[in-house]
Symmetry: C2
Subunit: 353 residues, 2 copies
């Protein structure tokens, strides 16, 4: 390979994750030559700013991938399924943030802090980015796993509306405007259901409420989101028998997923040892001093890159278990940032050849 700056294409540049991606690429060390912005024909012709320059959005078509080295996809599953192989066939490495390829044995599922070495193992020319809920914990769990060996994860999520895209954000804002202005709402049975105009992507009102559902219904009552946490954690950690029980719940937060994790390891682990290990782990910030009111919350974490960990406790009944509270910006590390990090690992193949 020549020592040149590779060409990047961003497919889905105008979406919720794409918008954050342009911001991230404008702020990170620049490893890219040309950056092409690609979206549906409806958005073609729009002008967006990236790295301080105006770039015209192009309509998705096979030719736009000619000369592209890395193509990021932030589009629905069915669009990725069709177009990531087209990009790969035209010579680009596709880094895909949909669910289309995550469990494909010929597609690596990569979190650079955990398994960056998997990037080169891509027989289809496609690399997958994990689901945002898995990404909200896996950097911290991966760091603990390297020393203590993880055996089981019991996960409860507190998922933000933006995990359901721009429509999720808009619907929650509309419901909040209604709920915030009416002091009678929120404490009478069924009142939000009557008051809100639009449920959008959620099966029940989200303002003044929590909704124990995300994704689609799979076998035996599990949601697709819950199975993603299970299957993707196993694949990223390379532990095909890892025990995982997840329950995914949507909360009235715009951006940043939170997770409660009860993690059991092969070896004993104290809270102090976990705090020290996580404090030194790449991509993790520990904020854990309840006496000073210090623990992560979505409102404090939104807009930041790391996985934040607090409320670290050794389980009272098992010295091999920890109870943790984690927060991560689901549009950044949970989506755009991890995709950018994977793409940067690929970019090194061009500049370090």
């Amino acid at each position: 390979m020549s020592n040149r700056l590779p060409t990047l294409a961003i497919v889905g540049a105008t979406g919720a994750v794409g918008t954050v991606m342009l911001d991230i690429l404008s702020k990170r060390e620049n490893v890219w030559g040309e950056i092409r912005l690609i979206a549906s024909p409806r958005s073609a012709g729009k002008v967006l700013r990236v790295r301080g320059e105006d770039v015209v959005v192009q309509a998705l078509a096979p030719e736009v991938f000619d000369g592209v080295d890395v193509a990021m996809f932030d589009v629905p599953d069915e669009v990725s399924k069709e177009w990531a192989p087209i990009a790969a066939a035209r010579g680009a490495v596709a880094v895909d943030n949909s669910g289309a390829f995550r469990l494909d044995p010929d597609v690596p599922l990569v979190v650079p802090e955990v398994n960056a070495d998997q990037v080169r193992n891509r027989p289809r020319g496609i690399i997958s980015n994990p689901n945002c809920t898995t990404l909200s914990m896996i950097v911290a769990i991966g760091a603990l796993h390297r020393t203590y060996g993880v055996k089981e994860l019991v996960v409860s999520s507190y998922q933000a509306a933006s995990g359901a895209g721009q429509e999720g954000i808009d619907v929650l804002r509309d419901q909040m405007a209604k709920a915030g202005g009416d002091r009678s709402l929120g404490d009478t049975q069924g009142d939000m259901r009557e008051a809100v105009d639009e449920l959008g992507p959620f099966p029940a009102p989200l303002a003044y409420n929590v909704v124990p559902w995300a994704g689609s219904l799979k076998d035996d009552g599990w949601s697709s989101e819950e199975l993603k946490v299970r299957n993707e954690s196993r694949k990223i950690l390379g532990l095909e028998d890892l025990r995982v029980s997840a329950t995914c719940v949507r909360v009235p937060v715009i951006t940043t997923h939170s997770l409660v994790v009860h993690a059991t390891f092969d070896r004993e682990v104290t809270a102090d040892a976990a705090r020290e290990l996580l404090g030194g782990a790449e991509g993790v910030e520990v904020l854990d001093d309840p006496a000073k009111g210090e623990f992560p919350t979505p409102n404090d974490v939104v807009g930041t890159d790391p996985t934040w960990v607090g409320r670290i406790r050794q389980s009272l009944d098992d010295p091999k278990s920890l109870d943790l509270f984690l927060c991560g910006d689901n549009l950044r590390k949970g989506a755009a940032l991890n995709t950018a990090q994977i793409a940067e690992v690929v970019a090194k193949e061009f500049t370090q050849a």
Copy 2:
């Protein structure tokens, strides 16, 4: 004992739980003769309605308990600690909803659907009502325990603002009014912290946020609320070695606590068997058909009496474990209703003598 309607005193009649208590007593089958309303001197003289009648609130004093058969306390721990024994010394059975006596070995901790028989075992003349978070799951867990034998509970809470009393409700409403009217709030780092005027009983803003803290700091990073879930579950179920890990998180909901529970039993239990058992259990309602969008949410459950259970799944790695989502109105079954139910069990001693 004579066959007469016993006299009831309600101490803390003007608080958030007291207000719900008056509503509950007005609607349930009437087992009481006189009902006396008692509060701090500041609230004395107020006129409140109960059972369709106006009743003047009396100031708390030893004499108000003379002739009282049952005295309910919905007041802070330190007030209960001082006054429940005074009521008991004057001949009343004190039913206390504070944390003052819950772990006292000479005070039973009662949930009538689970351990009504403990009501008579009250050497101090005091009976305790569990914490609202424990009460949001224990009727359902108790029903499962009777058949399957519970071994371990991993609990994550989604707790409502009213669990922190009227001040919690007022602060969340104020924050929601601010957040709902400002479409810029909720997605920029730290913005709610700058925007909200008042944190009230919460250590961080609650609108557009979740806060992983409830109660006070205890040893090894645990919160008092988390230890209550552990210790009270053990005492109510009579299982002093039950393994319990709880993480308590406050969410922007006015009333109704939700809990995710990963429960492990001595015996195998399928989701269908659990659904059937819980469907027939006293005080439990099953709402569990995700294909039809059916699962409990706080907004649907608030104002109702039962413990609602949905999202019942057999764990994929262990046929002896279930994953559940539960909702319960923290001011009703979580406080006033369970207190009223305990008092009614005591009342039968007077009428069935």
